[in-house]
């Protein structure tokens, strides 16, 4: 938990949703993809054709975020923002280009290969392309650690705010779903075999969950302005907890570093994804540590992917800013009117990588 204030002053998202807060979309599916959000507006036409989808999604979400931050500074003039740092997280990186290069290498027996897909296959392509397009010479990092890739990026930014190395940063999470990556992970048993009505995702008894993808960006600054969404209080990650009790202990320890207890939490976003096996730990916490706390969920709207928690943070920031919980995410509402002061996100990926993110009212 950092003592230096970090505020979320801009948001940008590309997800399977279009206008989630106004009209949430539900699907009959076991995989959710992002629709083209209008890449043309954000990326030069000659680049669109060559860019992998994750790069387009990431660049677009980051530009939406910077535009949002720029227009929310209070003055009539939009400010053009070149961030001091670009820090991204991605579980699998640029899968489409990786697969493309691998396929032609194998099919053509290592001959007649072209470099484009290899160049774009490196995990840091999204962060690199953003820097290139906005001419940002600042700190540029990409974390690639499974279900805590986005959280690692957040932690890096917060650490440098605390050190006084940064006073702003563009931080995001990106992951894409491809036909082949879906086929392979299906064989690994990640996904439900038959499509489900995403509205009832948590009631589905099939094994696995639904696949998803998205790009979500946050513009962080060390000062508050009139359009600040929320204050980012802290983030922590841990690997393979021994038991549900350990998770419970860790959440108390984490909140204690902010001087809080579970009673102070007004809403918990949980990474419930309808997989009966891995949802158990959420249910444990919901029944024990957060028995009287309103609960929300989000993976029925974006699907499961390594950086899905960024989508939850995007939602949580808006809950704090609007003081409204969209009906589509509400799992257990508050019996009385609540002021959403502290919102916690608890997410894990396949039971392996766990993380807490805490956002508060500025």
């Amino acid at each position: 938990m950092t003592n230096t204030p970090v505020y979320i002053n801009g948001l940008g998202s590309v997800s399977p949703q279009k206008a989630l807060l106004v009209e949430p979309l539900f699907f009959e599916a076991n995989q959710l993809r992002c629709a083209d959000p209008g890449y043309k507006e954000f990326i030069p036409a000659e680049m669109i054709r060559r860019m992998g989808r994750i790069i387009k999604m990431g660049v677009t979400a980051s530009k939406l975020c910077l535009r949002d931050a720029g227009s929310s500074s209070g003055s009539n003039m939009e400010r053009e923002i070149i961030p001091q740092a670009i820090i991204t997280g991605t579980g699998l990186g640029c899968m489409e280009d990786t697969e493309k290069f691998l396929t032609s290498m194998i099919r053509n027996k290592e001959e007649f290969l072209t470099p484009t897909s290899f160049i774009q296959s490196t995990h840091n392509t999204v962060a690199g392309q953003i820097a290139l397009l906005i001419k940002c010479h600042g700190y540029n990092f990409t974390y690639v650690h499974r279900g805590v890739s986005f959280e690692s990026a957040l932690l890096d930014a917060m650490t440098q705010f605390e050190m006084g190395e940064l006073s702003d940063a563009l931080v995001g999470g990106t992951d894409e779903l491809t036909v082949n990556s879906f086929a392979i992970t299906s064989r690994l048993g990640y996904w439900k075999r038959k499509p489900v009505d995403t509205k009832n995702l948590l009631d589905d008894r099939q094994r696995g969950t639904i696949a998803g993808e998205g790009a979500t960006f946050f513009f962080l600054e060390n000062y508050q302005n009139e359009h600040t969404y929320a204050r980012l209080m802290g983030v922590t990650t841990f690997l393979k907890p021994a038991s549900e009790k350990e998770v419970s202990k860790r959440v108390h320890d984490f909140l204690a570093t902010a001087g809080l207890t579970t009673n102070d939490i007004d809403l918990v976003f949980m990474g419930l994804n309808g997989n009966p096996r891995t949802d158990q730990v959420y249910k444990f916490l919901a029944g024990k540590d957060f028995a009287d706390t309103p609960l929300a969920y989000f993976k029925h709207l974006c699907g499961e992917y390594h950086t899905a928690s960024a989508f939850a943070a995007w939602l949580a920031a808006q809950v704090i800013s609007t003081q409204l919980v969209p009906g589509a995410v509400c799992l257990k509402s508050s019996p009385k009117s609540t002021i959403y002061e502290h919102v916690l996100i608890y997410n894990h990926f396949m039971g392996n990588n766990h993380a807490f993110i805490l956002l508060s009212r500025p």
């Binding site: 670009i86 579980g91 699998l92 990186g93 697969e99 290069f101 691998l102 396929t103 290498m105 194998i106 099919r107 027996k109 290592e110 001959e111 290969l113 072209t114 470099p115 290899f118 160049i119 774009q120 296959s121 490196t122 995990h123 840091n124 392509t125 962060a127 690199g128 392309q129 820097a131 290139l132 001419k135 940002c136 010479h137 600042g138 700190y139 540029n140 990092f141 990409t142 974390y143 690639v144 650690h145 499974r146 890739s149 690692s152 890096d156 650490t159 440098q160 605390e162 050190m163 190395e165 082949n180 086929a183 392979i184 064989r187 690994l188 990650t237 841990f238 690997l239 392996n352 990588n353």
Partner: protein, 405 residues
């Protein structure tokens, strides 16, 4: 808040050595690790050289006590071996004594196995052994290393192309400086794969005669593989336990060239910024730097851009410098850590290593790399790592003299 970060342990496995001692002896002997491809079948065999670790995957499995296991990639095994050596070198037996993290780096992760899987998968989506693809992501090798060392707190992975593992060192240092960790194992690991070999080959930057960094007639890099890890500890831990300090992390800098996805800018903007930041953080002047372990891949583009950036910083007084990639090859995600370990050896033994493969000075530069090993008084080493995506990083490592603290 710990103001200072100390290196107390190092571990390495690369083309010139299975451990720190062997690597050091090869450096002293001027023995290159570059040779013919033996690890996998490829049409480039016998044409393009590579710097392979001289151990088969089976031998690596045996080495880390996992003989017969089928779920470990070569990338993970190299990392496990080097990280374990680093821990031993730091004299750490109880990992839980202090809050300890692991920050690793990789560019291809488990690609050495995925490319086998993919060949079968492409012929029929129901084919291909899943055990060959389940460890594809970069996080896998990190978690294998974490469990090999018993680390479960802060565990993460960085992938910023060829600058990846210097960035792991930077993030790890920041976590210690802010008191979030007492100690952290940082580094990187990458195995050679057909994917990277063919990828770099499409860019036409693989030198068929082995790399010649900073030479006028350089024609590209030579791919290598390996892993290197360093144990970083806070001032408090070092003092309390009376640890043997190998070096101090005095400064580091990261910048983006923002010029081109793969090429470096002609004036070396990103490289200049990264080196300047690193020197500034260490509160040193350029003339305090006694040796530069340059990125020096041997490509036309990198060496020119880096050489110009160095001249912009050091003017006419460029300190002795060398690229050690003529020994180890370019180990990609591991390169920053491999060269940090070599820089620690330079500090420890007060020796500047030669730049293998050099004969004719570049006409654009007013200096030339070191071509013979020699003893020198070295207080501060600057080590550079640059990568695709414009990712440029530099770190300053300093000799620790008792009483400095």
């Amino acid at each position: 808040m710990s103001k200072r970060v100390f290196i107390t342990g190092i571990g390495i496995v690369c083309a010139i050595g299975k451990n720190v001692e062997e690597t050091f002896q090869s450096l002293l002997a001027g023995k290159t690790g570059i040779g013919e491809i033996t690890l996998f079948n490829t049409m480039h065999k016998g044409i393009i050289p590579m710097a392979e670790v001289k151990m088969t995957t089976e031998e690596l499995l045996e080495e880390v006590g996992k003989a017969g296991k089928k779920n470990l990639t070569r990338t993970a095994l190299l990392g496990m071996k080097a990280a374990k050596e680093a821990l031993g070198s730091a004299g750490i037996s109880n990992i839980h004594q202090y809050k300890t993290g692991l920050i690793s780096a990789s560019t291809v992760g488990g690609m050495d196995r995925s490319e086998d899987f993919y060949a079968s998968f492409l012929s029929d989506p129901a084919r291909g052994r899943l055990i060959d693809v389940v460890n594809h992501d970069c996080g896998d090798s990190t978690e294998r290393i974490a469990s090999h060392l018993g680390i479960s707190d802060l565990v993460t992975t960085i992938s910023t192309a060829c600058s990846s593992s210097v960035n792991a060192l930077m993030f790890g240092s920041n976590l210690i400086k802010t008191g979030q960790l007492d100690r952290v194992v940082v580094g990187g690991t990458d195995a050679v794969t057909r994917f990277t070999l063919n990828g770099f080959n499409t860019l036409m930057i693989l030198d068929k005669t082995g790399c010649h960094p900073f030479d006028e007639n350089r024609a590209g890099l030579t791919l290598g593989e390996g892993a290197a890890f360093l144990v970083l500890e806070s001032e408090e831990v070092v003092m309390k336990d009376g640890k043997n300090i190998l070096a101090e992390v005095s400064g580091y800098g990261n910048a983006n060239d923002a010029y081109h996805q793969t090429a470096s800018s002609p004036d070396g903007t990103g490289a200049f910024m990264a080196m300047s930041k690193a020197i500034a953080m260490s509160k040193l002047q350029p003339n305090d730097i006694d040796y530069i372990n340059v990125h020096g891949t041997g490509t036309q583009n990198n060496d020119l851009s880096e050489g110009i950036a160095i001249e912009r910083i050091f003017g006419e007084h460029v300190p002795p410098y060398s690229s050690t990639k003529g020994f180890t090859g370019h180990t990609l995600g591991a390169a920053g850590a491999v060269e940090a370990v070599i820089s620690v050896l330079a500090l420890k033994h007060q020796v500047v290593f030669s730049n293998l493969g050099f004969s004719i000075p570049m006409k654009e530069l007013h200096n030339r790399p070191v071509t013979t090993n020699h003893n020198a008084s070295i207080r501060h080493v600057l080590s550079n790592s640059f990568g695709f995506g414009g990712n440029n990083s530099a770190v300053v490592l300093s000799r620790y003299v008792t009483g400095d603290a």
